[in-house]
Amino acid sequence: MPDHAHRSPRTPAWLAWFIGRLGYGLLTAWVISLVVFIATQALPSDPARVILGPDAPLQSILTLQQQLGLDQPILVQYLRWMGAALRGDLGISLDSQVPVAQLLFGRLGHTLALLAGVLALVVPLALTLGVSLALRRDRPLDRWGLSALILLKATPSFLLAVGLVLLFSMPGMGWLPAVSILDPQLPLWRQLPSLVLPVVALSLSALPYLTRMVRASMIEALESDYVVAARLRGIPERLIVWRHTLPNALTPAIQGVALTLRTLVGGALLAEVIFSYPGIGTALNAAIQMRDLPMIQGVVLVITLAVVLINLLADLLTVLLTPKLRTARRVKMIRRNRRGIRPWWRRARSTPAQEATHD
């Protein structure tokens, strides 16, 4: 009956939603940068003393404080920093006296390579494992697989990393570098062996969550009416799994990947430290130790932007991969309750983001 309602407009409706979502994300990043800036600058720590070490005379410290502009009011410092940051200048590292942007650029590349490696490993693996477990639901393989995954999930991730480092520093295990010291002279793609262990360690810790998520959504999709209907229509099993089930199971998996990435951006820190991998995680850890405020602020800004971007991409992908949302006249990623009637105290307001539970 309501056919006329579905004429697609010239610009897709999700574009407006996307722009709104982008603004929201940027606002979030800005607020975090402000909070972190104020918090770091206001906290009782004196970068000048940290830099100069225990033997520095007071005069040297005062001079350095002045040079660093640490004697100015915080808001002045923030505005100055923000202004510079918008021009791509994140300040000079207190520790090494090199521009933060320059330091971050290389390291960000390394971290991104690491994350890309993890994604390239974990996503296909989780999909394959999740799908095969879902197809063998409640059979021995599924039960054992699940137990193993829970055990893996329960093991603190740094233990996995330390174990790998120790294993590969044994005699005779030289076929993979135990520690990922990268040669800056060489392009990263020629040092891929150095990426292997950190990628494996991070993947192992990310695997359980994603696999279980894929498995659960696969099971949900496999039990759905449309799969039963397809099966009863004589659609081959191969098509049922890959064409009917997986695309619908992917949508939650995208949010899962986004969550994994978000956790990894922070969680890579431990692995980076253990493998001496020169990513932004190690940079942040060092910067925190050193009270290298411009560096902390720079790294946090980058991480926040990355997280915002990840969320944005995940939501965008979800919209684009879900025909119902893609073709909707107004994209509101809101899951109403079944009757479409919202609870009585929240009338006529929309929630911008989809629910993604923490796991």
Binding site: Y226, V228, A229, R231, R233, G234, L239, L321, K324, A348
Partner: protein, 594 residues
């Protein structure tokens, strides 16, 4: 093709089919029947009777946890249960088509209509050239009454209306030209008009293609015009198999008779008779006849001997030791006198507008007299629920005027005076979500007592027991949590919660739509009884049969506007408005021309 049909006259032959859950608990046993080509057979039963299990078993499919453990199914000579792998796949869809209950969930939301159809054809006829596939799809779409243009094929399921979705399901089944088609309550989710159209299409297709169809439903009235024969199922067994006319005129099994007596008919007001007790759950079947504990005609041997389906006479099989042999008495039951509505106006609605994203109610006015039952009728999206909620004080964005007992009434329940608030109560559609799962029935029922009347302790206890008795529930229910109650019992508790507030107006929002007909009958009987005690009822429904059974007056809503209002006899008997007329015409009825 037609020659083949004539030679093997039985397209489907089922014998001794048995489906079990884990632990050898049978959900289906001793099922034997056959279908001839082009024949449409209705399979009728209430929820849990095993009718869907039977339907999918014909495709050698059992739901998670269940297993087909015995019997024989032959479709066009192929032993379906012996099929494995590729042969089974080709039989599904190719030999036996399947149309699921809810097209909204049975169509993959991620695939376009065209892709679904093409994939289905190619899965069975991989060598068919592209244009032949295209032609076949377009023919089928025209057959089922859908547009066959490219734009339509590019649509996603969610871009179709419910009727179109179900037609797509039909197309998906018919595009393969199967010999048998199994339909599992395909119209339950549809409005009556759409349902009528889809049923027409189905009938035409089956007749035209010579396809045998098994039509599964819980509602006898729906199959009245459609089927050639009817099989009645109870607790996993076929209890009666007979021709359509015979079933409605001279049903032999007591259960069939009880079922017929429980179905409200749009044509005339008849007293609805509920069936006492529950159908047994799988594994809890009593020895002997499973219906015996609920049967008025049971004898001592009924509890010992399990009757098997045997021929009563030609074309009529029944599984009963003491079947009815007489013809069902027709229309002689005196129509209940309508309770005289009280004087004056209890509730008055004037010029009510409700708008959310778009406006759903336009200038609606109505009046309810004390002790009167006013039915609000409309198809989905007509705004009837919004109207009911607005009256109950749950509405939002409401404009207009409400008066109760002559006094203006606030739109929000919270702003109404507590003395008024308890007088208007609301019963929700879904009994499964209407009760707090964390509270016992006693807690749920005594809370309003304390709240409105300050009644606690023994007095509250006494009143809870009294109200439970009023809704025909045993007193022990008070100590239970909702999850140990059935849907009908929950709905009774929900009504009890309303009654304990001593209301004068009860707003019932489709309160029986989630229930089986036999349970619905008992709930409707309860409401009638309450109405007799002076309670005014505002009954929201889409089912004109229910309206006929319970209401004094009817208000027909269409797209947020009142299109007709009047007494039940007037509106259902001599509808004036075109819309009302189609609605009445398309409503399934038990007694033709009654």
């Amino acid at each position: 093709m037609t020659a083949a049909v004539k030679i093997a006259s039985d397209v489907l032959q089922v014998s001794d089919l048995r489906v079990e859950l884990a632990g050898q608990v049978d959900v289906l046993a001793d099922v034997s029947f056959s279908l001839a080509a082009g024949e449409i057979v209705g399979l009728v039963g209430e929820s849990g009777s095993g009718k869907t299990t039977l339907a999918t078993a014909l495709l050698r499919h059992a739901r998670q946890g269940a297993r087909i453990t015995g019997g024989h199914i032959a479709v066009a000579g192929q032993a379906v249960l012996e099929l494995e792998g590729e042969a089974l796949r080709l039989a599904r869809g190719g030999l036996v088509g399947y149309v699921a209950q809810d097209p909204a969930t049975a169509l993959n939301p991620a695939l376009r209509i065209g892709a679904l159809l093409r994939e289905t054809v190619l899965a069975h006829l991989p060598k068919l050239p592209g244009d032949a596939v295209q032609q076949r799809i377009q023919e089928t779409l025209v057959d089922v009454g859908l547009p066959d243009d490219a734009a339509f094929l590019r649509r996603f399921p969610h871009q179709l209306s419910g009727g179109q979705q179900q037609r797509v399901m039909l197309a998906l089944a018919f595009v393969l030209r199967p010999r048998l088609i199994v339909l599992d309550e395909p119209t339950t989710a549809l409005d009556v008009s759409t349902q009528a159209h889809v049923l027409d299409t189905l009938k035409r297709l089956c007749r035209g293609h010579g396809v045998a169809a098994l039509y599964v439903t819980h509602d006898l009235a729906v199959v009245r015009d459609l089927v050639d024969r009817v099989m009645v199922m109870y607790a996993g067994r076929l209890v009666e198999v007979t021709g359509r006319e015979r079933l409605f005129s001279a049903p032999a099994h007591p259960y069939t008779r009880a079922l017929l007596a429980a179905i409200p008919d749009i044509a005339r007001r008849q007293p609805l008779q509920a069936i006492a007790g529950h159908a047994p759950a799988p594994g809890q079947r009593p020895a002997g006849c499973a219906f015996a504990p609920r049967c008025a005609r049971r004898r001592a041997e009924c509890a010992v001997i399990e009757p098997s389906l045997s021929a009563l006479d030609a074309g009529h099989q029944v599984a009963c030791l003491v079947p009815h042999r007489e013809v069902l008495p027709r229309g002689d039951v005196a129509v209940e006198s309508v309770t005289a509505p009280g004087e004056g106006v209890l509730l008055e609605v004037q010029g009510l507008d409700v708008a959310y994203d778009r406006q759903v109610l336009f200038d609606v006015s109505l009046q309810v007299a004390p002790g009167e039952c006013l039915a609000l009728v409309g198809e989905s999206g007509s705004g009837k629920t919004s109207l009911a909620r607005a009256i109950a004080g749950l509405g939002e964005n409401v404009q207009g005027q409400l008066r109760y007992g002559g006094e203006p009434l606030a739109f929000s329940a919270r702003q109404r005076d507590a003395r008024l608030r308890h007088q208007i109560q609301y019963v929700f559609q879904n009994p499964y979500r209407a009760l707090n799962p964390c509270q016992t029935i006693a807690q749920t029922l005594s809370a309003p007592l304390a709240h409105f009347f300050g009644v606690r302790g023994d007095e509250a206890h006494r009143r809870v027991e009294a109200v439970l008795a009023r809704v025909s529930l045993p007193a022990r229910v008070a100590g239970l949590y909702p999850q140990s109650l059935s849907g009908g019992e929950r709905q009774r508790v929900a009504i009890a919660r309303a009654l304990i507030c001593e209301p004068r107006l009860l707003v019932c929002d489709e309160i029986t739509s989630a229930l089986d007909v036999s349970v619905q009958a008992s709930i409707l009987a309860l409401l009638r009884g309450l109405q007799g005690e002076g309670l005014a009822v505002l009954f929201v429904t889409h089912d004109l049969g229910v309206v006929r059974a319970i209401a004094d007056r009817v208000l027909v809503l269409r797209r947020g506007r009142v299109v007709e209002e009047g007494s039940v006899e007037q509106v259902l008997g001599w509808p004036v408005d075109d819309y009302t007329r189609t609605l009445v015409a398309h409503s399934p009825r038990l007694h033709l021309g009654g």
